[in-house]
Structures are given as structure tokens and as C-alpha cells.
Symmetry: C2
Subunit: 371 residues, 2 copies
């Protein structure tokens, strides 16, 4: 294997595949990135339990192929070496076994590679017909739902994002069973599926999406393949069926608060000063005259934040909830007017944009002692 490549292009490609590198794997080969140099392109592959990422660099002005071949190089070292080399072009050459010389400028690294035959075979060849999504729309879909997934492994299905396609619509749902985020987008395909993808895999995909482009998505029984630009990403699905949470989302509301998102968000951040991990509850008191956010910490003190610039409809209502859940929800809604809609005391409530129902945030209230 011997090639010369533009350093910045290689660095960018290595950064992408490195997201699939597992540093805590029993299989040492997986701590590396596999370099496969074909007659017309260089292919970089990394993979772990849930995801495999492959990036291609085509032979052109930026890649000169001298001699084909393959090697696996430590992801940790190769990425830093390419980052720090002081030259526009770097050269790779296998000089002995899998010992690989990487040179650029006045620097020369000899890195012990490993045998590509020890690297697991990964089938990245898509089957069937893809459905196509806009990459930026996919990135938004991920970012709007991913944060709401569970961090805990006790119900593995909730660590994923549920994606349901039917009737030319794709609905994504993330939930930890105390809060939920649901995003709907129109799709140009009559495909039907109901799958759950690990949230972590979707994070990686979202980070790799840089430009507007079409993403070809191939859904099969146990995995999904995403193909866009020079990237191929395979992610496994989470087994089991996602709970039917859509029916939990209320549609009738006795109380509605319309407010500017940054106004309530700043107010929440102030009253959150008197919360901590054990005591993370804030209270919202609403009537036609004014809205008060408050919190209270034994020993420390209390805070009240009054909001007058808002519109409230309904009987007076007091409701308490997790301060992090509400600020996460507001963060993913667009700037501008938002609506908080409450069916009643101690009932799950929703947040959404005033004029758009495509993104729904659901939060369960917390029962507290009155104070």
C-alpha cells in the first residue's frame, strides 16, 4: 500500500469514521481504522457493536495511488498524526509487514499497523430500494428527538429513537417514559416500517451530515444503511417493540399559555439556580394576570420569577415539573412564540410552536409537597 493524499481531506474523512471506533472493545482490531486502497479509491472503515462507518476518497488531484493494499492503523494515533503533520500532502507506505510509514513535511512516523484479515467482515452492501430524505431534514429530525431518549439501559428499547413510516409521513419519537419528543415530516415515498435505531448511532449520523444532500436510506429487518456523499453508515436496530406512546399525547386542553420561548427559557434558567440533582423541580403558577415560576431549596432559599408578557387562557393552574425536561423541550422548539397546553392538574402537558404541530414535546408533571 502506497499513496499520497491531501492532508485536510484525509483528516476530515478520518474524523467521520472515527465516530464508529470503539476504544473499549475485546477485539483489538476494532480500535483501529481499516485502510483499503483500491485502484481508483481509498476506503476507510471503522465499526463497533451498533454502527459501522465507511468513507471513500476517490483518486483525483487529492489522492495519488501508487500501490494498492490494506492495513489497519490505530485510530487514536493516526487521527492525531494527520492533524499535526505540517504539510498539505501526506504519504502512506507499508514498509515492512504492517509497519506503515506516514510522512509529511520534515516528519516521519513509523506506525505498527495490524493485519486487515483480522478485521471483522462487515456487509455494507444495501439491498432493495432506498427511500430518500433530505440530509438537513434528517439531521433536524435526529436533533429534535434524540435528547428525549433514555440514558438508562434497563429498558433498552427506550435508548433508541422509534421511526414509523406510513401514509407518506415519517414520525420519530424519543422518550424516557417521563418526557417525550415527537417529530413528523412528510416523505416522498409510500414505504411502511416501524423500527427503533440506537440514539447513539443517530448522533453519529447527525454529526457526519455536513451539507445539504439526498440521503438514501435502506431499511431491512435487522439494520438500516444510510448512504450520502462519500459516506456509508450501517446501524443495527434495537430488538423489541417500542411502546405505543402516541396515544398518551393529549389533544384536549383546558389551559393554554402562549409565551416567547426565550422569555420563559431565561426565567427557567434563573429559578433553576435553586435546584440540584436531588431537588430538580420547579413550579409554574398561572392565572389571567400573571405567570410565576418558582423553586425552593430547604436550607438555601427560594426564588420567584414573574412573567407578565404572555397570554394565558383557562382557570388558574399550578403545576410542578423537572426543570431540565422543560428547558430541553424549549431548546428544540424554534425561537418565537410557543404554546404550553395543559389538560389539567397532574396530567401530562405538551409544548409546541404556536403555529406548527410538527414537533410535540410532552412532559409528565411531578407530584410534590406544597410549599
Amino acid at each position: 500500500m502506497n499513496f499520497k493524499v491531501n492532508r485536510i481531506i484525509l483528516l476530515n474523512s478520518l474524523s467521520k469514521v472515527s465516530k464508529a471506533v470503539s476504544y473499549k472493545t475485546p477485539l483489538p482490531a476494532l480500535t483501529g481504522i481499516k485502510f483499503d486502497l483500491y485502484p481508483t479509491f481509498l476506503q476507510l472503515t471503522a465499526s463497533e457493536q451498533n454502527i459501522a462507518i465507511q468513507v471513500k476518497i476517490e483518486a483525483d488531484n487529492n489522492l495519488e495511488i501508487i500501490d494498492t493494499g490494506s492495513v489497519v492503523l490505530s485510530a487514536k494515533y493516526i487521527l492525531e498524526i494527520i492533524r499535526k503533520l505540517d504539510s498539505d500532502i501526506v504519504e502512506f507506505e507499508i514498509i515492512d509487514g504492517f509497519l506503515t510509514r506516514i510522512s509529511g513535511g520534515n516528519s516521519e512516523f513509523n506506525l505498527n499497523g495490524t493485519d486487515p484479515m483480522d478485521y471483522p467482515q462487515i456487509d455494507l452492501i444495501p439491498k432493495g430500494m432506498p427511500f430518500i430524505m433530505d440530509s438537513i431534514e434528517l439531521k433536524e429530525l435526529i436533533n429534535d428527538t434524540r435528547f428525549a431518549a433514555s440514558e438508562k439501559e434497563n429498558r433498552p428499547i427506550l435508548t433508541g429513537i422509534n421511526l414509523i413510516a406510513k401514509d407518506n409521513e415519517l414520525v420519530a419519537i424519543g422518550t424516557n417514559s417521563y418526557r417525550l419528543s415527537k417529530k413528523s415530516v412528510k416523505i416522498d415515498s409510500d414505504i411502511t416500517f416501524d423500527i427503533t435505531i440506537p440514539a447513539k448511532s443517530l448522533d453519529d449520523i447527525s454529526k457526519i451530515i455536513e451539507n445539504q444532500d439526498n440521503v438514501n436510506i435502506y431499511v431491512s429487518e435487522r439494520s438500516v444503511i444510510f448512504i450520502f456523499e462519500n459516506n456509508i453508515i450501517l446501524t443495527r436496530l434495537i430488538d423489541g417493540s417500542f411502546p405505543d406512546v402516541s396515544s398518551l399525547i393529549p389533544t384536549q386542553f383546558a389551559h393554554e399559555l402562549t409565551i416567547d420561548s426565550s422569555l420563559i427559557s431565561n426565567s427557567i434558567s434563573r429559578v433553576s439556580l435553586l435546584t440540584n440533582e436531588q431537588n430538580n423541580v420547579i413550579k409554574l403558577d398561572m392565572n389571567n394576570d400573571r405567570v410565576i415560576l418558582s423553586s425552593f431549596m430547604q436550607e438555601i432559599g427560594s426564588v420567584e420569577d414573574t412573567i407578565t408578557e404572555c397570554f394565558y387562557k383557562g382557570e388558574p393552574l399550578s403545576i410542578t415539573f423537572d426543570n431540565k425536561y422543560i428547558s430541553d423541550a424549549i431548546k428544540v422548539l424554534d425561537k418565537g412564540k410557543i404554546k404550553l397546553c395543559f389538560p389539567g392538574e397532574m396530567r401530562p402537558f405538551i409544548l409546541k410552536m404556536a403555529e406548527d404541530d410538527s414537533l410535540i414535546e410532552l412532559i409528565l408533571p411531578v407530584r410534590t409537597h406544597s410549599y
Copy 2:
């Protein structure tokens, strides 16, 4: 106690005193900041084992004093509250015992304060005559030596910076006994002292210095007081005598390398890629033709970085040393040409600016197996 104050000015003052707040103290009062409101100024005090910091805000357009008094407020909460309040002016008022109302904009915090009588008495009144230093020169003196002090408590004296004044010169030395940094500055005073100040206290002083100003320094037997702008800082001294390390600094050199600091610094950062905490040694090979920096990690690989743009005088020399010590040393030297001066193999060597001896960096080589 009742006053109104400009929020930004209070925030800036609280940030300064908060550096002396100890969150791990057996004395709960010390986790707070003491507010003393006198008829003409507000005084904020914080202190821990090694240092006490006091900042004054004078009554003027930015401070309206309504009713004098004192209270101790939790540093952690008060700083964040003042940071997040949405108003230019904030009001403090003791409303019951030590319960303090802090209000601004539409927000109102009630914070449980504690009794100022429980706060330790600290004598911040300077005795004798000060010597005067320029604040920016003091900040540089600290930053040029502080990093070289020891992190380990086994020889407490080495966790401090030794300051020796005599013959109108102030010499500061930090060392962990493997490397040393020595900075000399002229002073307009014939004062004589030999003291060791905790490096951590000097860090705090350096961070509090914002503007060029005169610093009045009062050295006494067990402590030093620094007074500048509205700040009074007292730091205790470390007991014991600092080792006489100046005599270890070589003055005769058989080998000299003159090189651009950023050139060698970049080269070091590249060869340091193949080092880690256990194996942090890099090698410098010099002869009249070229200079090579290299390192080597069993299992991983090796690197050689060649530097041609430099000037070497002397017989060929190979020397190995800690990569972090040399990069720290280069960081504090000014940009531009620097000199590395070697008495010989396995002997301590120095780094300095090509045309200026006021800052000397000393490094002990490391004995290694040849490779």
C-alpha cells in the same frame, strides 16, 4: 443591610473574591462571601487556609447605600444569581434575621444568609512600608515561574514560589526539582527578603490583576499583603527555607542550539504524539548539519522530526528529556529566537531568549535505554 448596586460591577467583584472561597472547609462560614456594608462602601471578603481576598465598592452612581449591615451569603449561589439576574441594578435587603432578599428585574431570590459574627476575623491591615511593583510585571513574574512549582505535597516548600529581593532586584524561582524557572526583574526599592508564597495564591493574584496599576506589597514574617485598585489580598507564607537552586544553574556551555521557538514547539508537539504518561521522554540529536527530535513507543511505533532551520554550535550531542517540561519552558519564553544551552551529556541544560537573560528555564535530562 439594604443597598442597590450595579449588577456588572458587583459580579466582577464577587468573581474576584470567590477565588479565595474554600468549598472543602470544615468551617461552613468559609463557603460564603462576607458582605459588610459601611456608610460609604460595600466590602466583600472571602478567605481560605492560604489566602484572603477583600474587594471594596465605593458608594457612587453604582452603589446606593440605604441601610448598613453585614451578612455572609453562600458564594456558590450568590455568584450565579447575580450572573443570571435580568437587570442593570440589583437590590439586597435583609428581611428577617439573615434571610436576604436579592431582587432585580422580575426576579426575587430569598437566600438564607449566615451570621457574620461566625466568620473568622482576618487582619488585612498592612504594617510597615510597602514596596511597589507594576501589576503587569507582577502578573508576568507569576506566570513565568508558577507552572514549574511542584504539584506534590511531599515537599511543601516546592509547592511555592521563592521570591528573593536584594540589590534592587527581585528573583522568583519555581521548581519541582526536575525543572526550574527563574525570572529576575529590577525593583525601585532596596528592600531585602527571602520568602516562599504558595503558587496557588499567586495564581489567584495573577487572575485578579486586570489593569496596569501599582501594586503595594507589604512583606511580613508570616504573610504578604498585596494592595491594588480596590483589592486587598493576604497570602500566608510557606514555612521552611527554599533550597538554594541558583547555584545549580550552569553558566558554561559546550553546545548551543539557536532556533525559532514556534518551530521547535511544533516539532515537539508532533513527536509528543508518541509519548504517554508512563513514557514521556523525547530525544534531541544535534550536529552541525541538522537537528532531529524523535520518540518511540514499544508496540505503537516511532517518529523522527528533522529541523534544518536552526544554528548549532558544538560537538554532536544526544540528549533525552521530559516532553512536557520542555514544551512548558518554551511556552513562557517570548516568541522568536530562543537558545538551548547544554554543558554536556546527562547534565542539566537551560533555555532562554537569544538576547535576554531575565528568564532562565532549567531542565534535567532523563537517562534512557538507547533505542
